[in-house]
Symmetry: C2
Subunit: 460 residues, 2 copies
């Protein structure tokens, strides 16, 4: 819950108006920086900055880092470029590169020359990685050690560099060309004899990823191996950065949000947008493309219904089952699709397991088909005693409807499982073909199955 | 990807058959325990255990911990209770309690007396917390320090306890009654002067949670504050455990899976089940309840269609738009619902923001309604030139369809936003009322809106 106490806004404005720096400092120093950021977020960006200006640069950077990205950008747009360069210099390299990418181009160009050369190059390097790769989320502030140090020397070294590093709990052991030899945890260093060599203590089988690996694969490695950080290597096997455990949490949350939105047919990139702060127009632009596309596909279903008009007018009872047929196909297909998408995301299955998956889905769908067929049949026999079924017995009509429904359940389940597997095989995101697109497809196949089964089984 | 190399199974069996302990040990010692667990998982549980028996107890415990829970349980069921007690003793307290809960009751009862008193009590205490609470996922293996130690003494103390603790990177400072006074990171201890007191260095504003807090809230705190571990307090403010960063990753992944399954109408608890290992029958039992319930609700929609049969036969053109209407209502409703569910889960919005959310959704849906209304109207005017519209101009029919579609879009969007907010207000999980249940509801409201609008606007 953000803005847990919007009542504080007038008080904060009062403090700013009376230039009560001491109270502002006290207030900002007692809370956790993330909470202070929440507290001052409801203010205008200019006011937020006015508050931050009262603080020392370390605390200011900590609080700034926890502000929403849109607030950060608005603040920066109003500041002189020297000040912007100063804020960027105080940030973690990965956060800094992320934020820099979001700045207006003119500001990017004006601010770069105002930065120190090392930082400028760091930003240029980090923003060069494609969005969504390990390189784009890694930080360059990791601790590295040469292999020949003793444990005591290594601890001393880590103590010195601690203020500038994102973590000193893992230190990466590299050779002169920054090739990764292994890693050592601070725990291992502390437990080891003071004169033990780092190369003797280090774990040599370090789990790592490459700069162009998918960020989710990197996060899943951190999860699988319970790591605090994962080293990132470039094509030449040199260590270029690390991804930390807190980044892994954010990546997995972001990927889940994206999956969910793909499932629910919402376009656009939302990684940093917050529901309530996104304008209605932006929401509209994100949602409209899919809704319109699917509505147009829905019109296709309409053409199918239209072409079987005659059959429907002859057997009005079929009309009654159309909504159930559509709903059931969509539901069974979505179930299969979401289980497959999820299992793929958690690396439980692989596209090459396709036969086993289809076998399982066929078994499940057959059971569902029988169950639902029986229900539909019962519905016909119980409620449609006086339905008009010219030239056919009620039994035949009931059987036709049940069989059509059963076929619909089986095909939509198999389509639901196949689509994400196919997407994964083609290296697309499986989630994108799931739910709404799927529902529309099985609507169309379902109507065809329904009408063709009815036409075949009934004497017209 | 599990079982990346199933070809190794025959080789592993060969090694077991020839009792080649040395090669087995070499193989298990070179890989990461998580990878070794994946490698031997395809074997029968008895064979997995036969391999583990060749290893020293520390490595055995590490690999065992990475096996899937169902394999762990199958192994334990075949072992003498002494051996089971021994395996449990080697596990982390939180993993141990989780596994213990899953064991058959008879095994639970026989194994408890075989365990040491402290472990027995630890298990009893941990399993007493309700599933899904912070208490049920915390571990009791945390490092605690008295406030009056110096930094050097504290580091010595942490070095001593390191082998038994899940993390020594955070140490919790407690008084004689185990009340939490603050925490200190190993980094702070290393940077501090050797004779600085822990109470002078420690962070006093420690973020914490309570044993009965929701596990997801605890995980979100770890994420928000970038923590390595979160202390868990009981009702009397005493520290009773911690939740570590790797648990937070697992909790958030588990909650994602559950949300997704609720969205896709899949019942049952899957927290530990793996797609491919779950039997078709179990899949069926998980999926059938919702599919059947929704199919029965679909039959309700059928009754509505049936009661407007006369209208449909008079204006066959309405039939053509039924699939599009149903699909669009479902899609716009799901979009609104998924955004609201997600924003609630990420704590971006609160049920009390209902007015702001409805205003935003109304604006978005109005824009979508106009856009889709225009498309439907164009579809009527372009493709239905010679449609049979007795007693009404094509223009009137086109307008009636567009207005009906627009009303459907607006109501289903608002219903989509309201349902999860209502559920959250009632302290239910918002995800449970989302997608498929929602689609079925807006199918029903959509059909009613469609037919009533048509009936009102057209002269019959």
């Amino acid at each position: 819950m953000k803005n847990t106490n919007p009542l504080l806004v007038p008080e904060l404005r009062e403090l700013l108006a009376t230039k009560d720096g001491k109270t502002i400092r006290d207030l900002c120093e007692t809370g956790h920086p993330a909470n202070v950021a929440d507290l001052i977020s409801p203010l205008e960006p200019k006011e937020v900055w006015a508050i931050l200006e009262y603080l020392n640069s370390e605390l200011r950077a900590e609080i700034f880092r926890h502000l929403d990205e849109d607030v950060q950008i608005e603040i920066m747009e109003d500041l002189p470029r020297k000040e912007v360069a100063h804020i960027l210099a105080e940030m973690h390299p990965d956060d800094r590169a992320d934020l820099f990418k979001q700045l207006p181009e003119s500001l990017q160009e004006s601010v770069l020359p105002a930065m120190a050369q090392a930082e400028r190059e760091d930003i240029r390097r980090l923003i060069s990685f494609r969005e969504g790769t390990a390189g784009a989320v890694m930080t360059s502030d990791y601790a590295a050690l040469p292999p020949q140090l003793t444990a005591a020397q290594a601890i001393d070294r880590l103590r010195e560099v601690a203020p500038d590093k994102e973590t000193i709990y893992y230190a990466y052991v590299v050779d002169d060309e920054r090739k990764l030899l292994g890693y050592v945890s601070l725990k291992d260093l502390i437990i080891a004899r003071r004169d033990a060599r780092v190369e003797a203590i280090m774990q040599t089988e370090a789990v790592y990823c490459r700069v162009d690996d998918d960020q989710e694969d990197a996060a899943r490695k951190i999860q699988k191996y319970d790591l605090l950080a994962l080293p990132v290597l470039n094509g030449g096997d040199a260590l270029v950065g690390i991804i930390t455990h807190d980044d892994a949490l954010d990546i997995i949350t972001q990927e889940h949000t994206e999956d969910m939105e793909k499932f629910m047919a919402i376009a656009g990139s939302h990684e940093d947008s917050v529901y309530i702060k996104t304008s209605a127009w932006r929401h509209f632009k994100n949602r409209a493309p899919w809704v319109v596309l699917l509505a147009i596909l829905g019109l296709l279903s309409g053409f199918i219904v239209q072409s079987f008009e005659g059959l429907l007018f002859q057997f009005a009872i079929l009309l009654t089952f159309m909504p159930m047929l559509a709903a059931t196909g969509g539901n069974t297909g979505s179930q299969a699709a979401s289980l497959v998408v999820r299992a793929l995301a958690l690396r439980e299955i692989h596209p090459r397991d396709i036969l086993g998956i289809l076998t399982k889905e066929f078994q499940v769908s057959l059971m569902l088909a029988i169950l639902l067929g029986v229900i539909a049949f019962a519905r016909v026999m119980i409620f449609e005693g006086n339905a008009n079924t010219p030239g056919n017995s009620l039994l035949t009509v009931g059987l036709a409807i049940s069989i059509a429904l059963g076929l619909q359940v089986i095909t939509s389940t198999l389509i639901g499982a196949l689509l994400p597997l196919g997407a994964a095989k083609l290296k697309l995101d499986p989630a994108v073909v799931a739910s709404p697109a799927l529902t529309t497809i099985v609507d169309i196949t379902g109507l065809l199955i329904f009408f063709l089964t009815a036409k075949t089984m009934l004497s017209i």
